[in-house]
Amino acid sequence: MKYVDEYRDPQLIRNVVREIERQIDPDRHYRIMEVCGGHTHAIYRHGLKDLLPDNIELIHGPGCPVCVLPMGRVDDGLSIVEHPGTILTAFGDMMRVPGTRGTPLEFKARGSDVRMVYSPLDALRIAQNEPDRHVCFFAIGFETTAPSTALTLLRAKELGITNFSVFCNHVTIVPAMRAILDSPDMRLDAFIGPGHVSTVTGCRPYEFVSRDYGKPIVISGFEPLDMLESIARILVQLREGRAEVENQYRRIVPWDGNIPALRAMAQTFELRPYFEWRGLGFISQSALKLSDAFAAWDAERIFDVPGVRVTDPKAAQCGEILKGVLKPPQCKLFGKECNPEHPIGALMVSSEGACAAYYRYARIDEPAAATA
């Protein structure tokens, strides 16, 4: 257990905090975005904000898959289960995400055959077990999850399972980061790069952040010491006027990524010309769809999904929170109408959503919404 203790050792943590204090310019305000929802969760769970100087502001990024899925796509997915003989399968997180006519769980309660699965392979198994029904898998997630959908599709094709399809909502992180960097109301100094996504993508795709935008990015692990060390490395880069991609999570993340995973994705998916992200709007080449070779497994083509566009409930400010313009407690619905029991916005659903993380760990200390 030496390794574990090493990442939790209070003395080591104090040393890194001291290094952060040494590197920081007290007259400067730092805005650092953690891209990954797992980091958002860990920051609040560990109370990392309390260890950091006040002039470091952590901005929560778009790296929570259910949070960035627009409501229209939820409606589109749920329209599939209204076709007779269909079974809609989804991960647990997805089951509680509201569409305009309810969540997948509420559809299930009203009699639709919606089932929670823990793996896309479970959905494929249901299709094998129930050959008279059509089983659709509601696929969401970044590059961490897309390879598992890809391998499941390859498996379906290999086994000739034709009563199975994928409603593909996989998104890719790099175009979203570019959109954030291009956004006029976004002022960021650096990024804490995603850990698990990068095990698949590797570090190369982030080179544009330093090359084109002059911002440091440090791919980080999830331990308190990992994240503090990543912040220290960012501060060193900023102080020295450098902007580079650094890999703090080298023990898990290979520089070139996971080659079999990237290959499986290339075999099954192609880039959509554009895709809508909640809060960020339409971003070109930011999402995946099934390639023509897998048209027979593409739920969008099989069921001719309506492609509805729905604006978020007006009062909920998920978009502003996703862009880092507002903090969760500044939303008028936070903790009142919108809470983990009855989420109105998707950011309150997943444990990786900024609102759910705030609600669980930081609510008491935060200022309430400004009464307007």
């Binding site: 390794y3 823990y118 479970d122 391998l151 996971n258």
Partner: protein, 94 residues
């Protein structure tokens, strides 16, 4: 969420699948994303939605398990592993 587990048995008939032990719970997972050289019993891997995503060292596996515990994600992680239903005959916890 990445869950650490140890490979206990490879599937000779279908090398894409292997049996893994996660804190005493044994399930079949897909190992098709692990680069050559292929997976061997005793290897530690990080698991996500039924797939081994990367090979790791044993102490990293312990670290990851500890992290899940600290994030309060240990129970959902075990629930996920228990829930993998694609395996033909999941073994009871040992």
């Amino acid at each position: 969420m990445a869950i650490p587990g140890q490979i206990v048995e490879c599937n000779a008939d279908d090398p894409l699948f292997a049996k893994v032990d996660v804190a005493g719970v044994r399930r079949t997972i897909n190992v098709g994303l692990i680069a050559d050289p292929g997976i061997r019993p005793g290897d530690w891997v990080l698991i996500h939605v039924g797939f081994a995503m990367s090979r790791i060292e044993e102490d990293q596996a312990r670290e990851q398990l500890e992290l899940l515990r600290m994030l309060g994600e240990e129970m959902p992680a075990m629930e996920e592993v228990r829930g993998y239903a694609f395996s033909d005959s999941p073994e009871a916890p040992t």
